[in-house]
């Protein structure tokens, strides 16, 4: 399986990354090397094997710990917004989406 330039551009659109034309060609080559490496894994017979989504799932068959549904965070909106690129009256500013 080898990805074309078009497919790379489509993936970049999905991932919200703009690519310069010369960049997409270089990335295509690197991506195709990685996908060739990954091929080996695709050929393995995994009939009847459960996917392992958590590194400790043999220890926690019930899944990860859940905490009680209670408020634990204090209001730190001012702190957290202090690092935002653009703010107005406590709101994050983005380019206009609706006319």
């Amino acid at each position: 399986m080898s990805l074309s330039d078009d497919q790379i551009r489509r993936l970049a659109r999905l991932a919200r990354i703009s690519l310069r034309p010369e960049e997409s060609a270089a990335l295509a080559e690197r991506l195709n090397r990685v996908l060739a490496l990954v091929e080996e894994m695709r050929a393995v017979d995994t009939t009847g094997i459960e996917p392992m989504s958590h590194a400790l799932d043999p220890h926690f068959p019930g899944g990860q710990r859940l905490r009680p549904d209670e408020v634990t965070e204090s209001d730190r909106r001012r702190d957290y917004q202090s690092v935002a690129p653009a703010l107005e009256e406590g709101l994050y500013l983005v380019p206009k989406v609706l006319e």
């Binding site: 919200r16 996917p51 983005v94």
Partner: protein, 490 residues
């Protein structure tokens, strides 16, 4: 005196501080002086704030005079720049976060501060921890103190170089596929990747959440144990943190080697390993055998699939984790854009480097409609086969021994053209995190070029103490871990 201090272990430094032979201010000054002298050529630190470090050292000294001293009171430490700190920026080696100042400290940072440690600065790393050489850092590559033309390994390359060059007595790292152990091996220091869930990840920038784990890097196994006593433990703010009693890792270092069953996977002693590496590791095996340990031949038949499995799972999780960098809430935002979608796309194009973009695209591909089952789900199934190999092996042995990396440190630029060649560096370090197992690397010799070789020990879940104990016993009989790099003399 200064030379002795610079080369001392954490245990020795703690003793000297407690006996008031030295103050934290004096100690911190000697390390800062060394950073000033060596960071130009080695590029191990991204951020250093001398005034902040010294203010902190004065505070700890004052507290000690009042009789208050935590377990690491006055000890200078460096943090990989993936740990959020309020006082110093947290760049994660990326332009995206080049100016980012976190509103909170990581859990690990809080724990070290509470223990009295003094932050020396933030260490260089591969961008978003994606790399095995430190070359993907936006801030330029860190260099290997054993040979500056060579990489220090990665992604925790700056932490490893800092400890190797004695610019810090110890540092934190994170390990997703080998990012603590491989750089430790390449720079002749010690590094432990704890069991998944042993150390809280709260405040650590996420890369691949089913694999990421934080751990200590230092000069000796005993020092790793001291750091683990502070770092490890339950934290409700990390949903993967495991609730279990606090352990004293320093108390169990004198492991009985007689009768210890050491598994030697035939896959870890086969083709593709440099002769210098193989020789040093085999010498270590003979030492353990001479102490009464029993070597057990084992097989990890699916371990070779670790690299391909990892390069599906890690990019998939990274593409999802890194979607948060959109120029809205924090981090870089492009200056010019046409509309919202264009703002996202340009922000991410400018903020991320090539390796990160490549992994996001691989992740986007393997998670996309029509490919999910063939790639991501299949990788998770093969991951279970790899974990099952370890479980079967651990029925016959207590720990598994092998080389940390197939080669010693390579030259800067040698692998940058071919991502797959770079990824194969992690062939022996990737399987343990896939299975969630603890593993460490300690120095076990040098190759013909005088470059350090790392010995990897892998244990059962939550058996860090046994790994540290075996490594400690080895270090009582050898001095590989005490050698000082020739390009960073005392």
């Amino acid at each position: 005196m200064i030379n002795a201090v610079i080369n001392a272990t954490l245990t020795e430094l703690s003793g000297a501080l407690a006996a008031k032979q030295i103050s934290s201010v004096e100690l911190t000054k000697s390390y800062l002086e060394r950073i000033r002298r060596l960071n130009g050529p080695l590029n191990a630190f991204i951020s250093v704030d001398e005034d902040y470090s010294l203010a902190r050292a004065r505070l700890v000294d004052a507290a000690r005079r009042k009789g208050e001293a935590g377990p690491l009171a006055g000890i200078p430490l460096a943090y990989k720049d993936i740990f959020c700190t309020r006082e110093l920026r947290t760049t994660c080696g990326s332009r995206m976060l080049a100016e980012y100042k976190s509103p909170y400290d990581a859990h690990v940072v809080e724990q070290f501060e509470r223990a009295g440690a003094v932050a020396l600065g933030k260490c260089n790393m591969d961008e978003f921890a994606m790399g095995s050489s430190n070359e993907s850092s936006y801030f330029g590559p860190a260099r290997n103190p054993w040979d500056r033309r060579r990489v220090p390994g990665g992604s925790s390359g700056g932490s490893a170089a800092a400890v190797a060059a004695r610019m810090a007595p110890a540092a934190t790292g994170t390990d997703t596929g080998g990012s603590i152990r491989q750089p430790a091996a390449m720079t002749g220091v010690c590094g432990l990747k704890p069991t998944y869930g042993a150390v809280s990840r709260y405040g650590i920038v996420a890369f691949a959440s089913s694999l990421d784990q934080a751990g200590p890097m230092a000069k000796s196994a005993a020092d790793l144990a001291l750091m683990m006593n502070v770092m490890a433990g339950f934290d409700p703010r990390d949903s993967t943190s495991v609730e279990r009693p606090k352990e004293d890792y320093s108390g169990s270092l004198n492991l009985e080697l007689s009768g210890l069953r050491i598994g030697l996977p035939k896959e870890y002693f086969g083709e593709g390993i440099e002769p210098g590496v193989l020789q040093a590791v085999e010498e270590a095996v003979r030492w353990f055998a001479s102490q009464g340990a029993k070597t057990v031949p084992i097989e990890l038949p699916n371990a070779r699939l670790g690299v391909p499995v990892y390069y599906v799972i890690a990019p998939a999780e990274a593409s999802s984790n890194l979607s948060r960098f959109d120029g809205v809430r924090y981090g870089h935002r492009a200056k010019e854009y046409a509309d919202l979608a264009d703002m996202y796309a340009r922000t991410r194009a400018e903020g991320f480097g090539t390796e990160v973009k490549q992994r996001i695209l691989v992740g986007t591909y393997v998670l996309s409609h029509g490919y999910y089952d063939a790639y991501y789900l299949q990788a998770q199934k093969v991951r279970r086969l790899i974990a099952a190999d370890f479980a079967a092996a651990f029925e016959r042995c207590d720990l598994i021994l092998g080389p940390t990396a197939p080669s010693t440190a390579f030259e800067i630029g040698a692998n940058t053209g071919d991502p797959v060649k770079m990824y194969l560096n992690d062939i022996f370090t990737i399987p343990a995190p896939l299975a969630g197992l603890p593993a460490l690397s300690v120095p076990c010799g040098f190759d013909a070029a005088g470059l350090p070789v790392g010995l990897q020990l892998t244990g059962k879940h939550f058996c860090e103490a046994a790994l540290l104990g075996a490594a400690h016993r080895y270090q009582q009989a050898t001095d590989w871990h005490l050698r000082v790099p020739k390009e960073a003399p005392l």
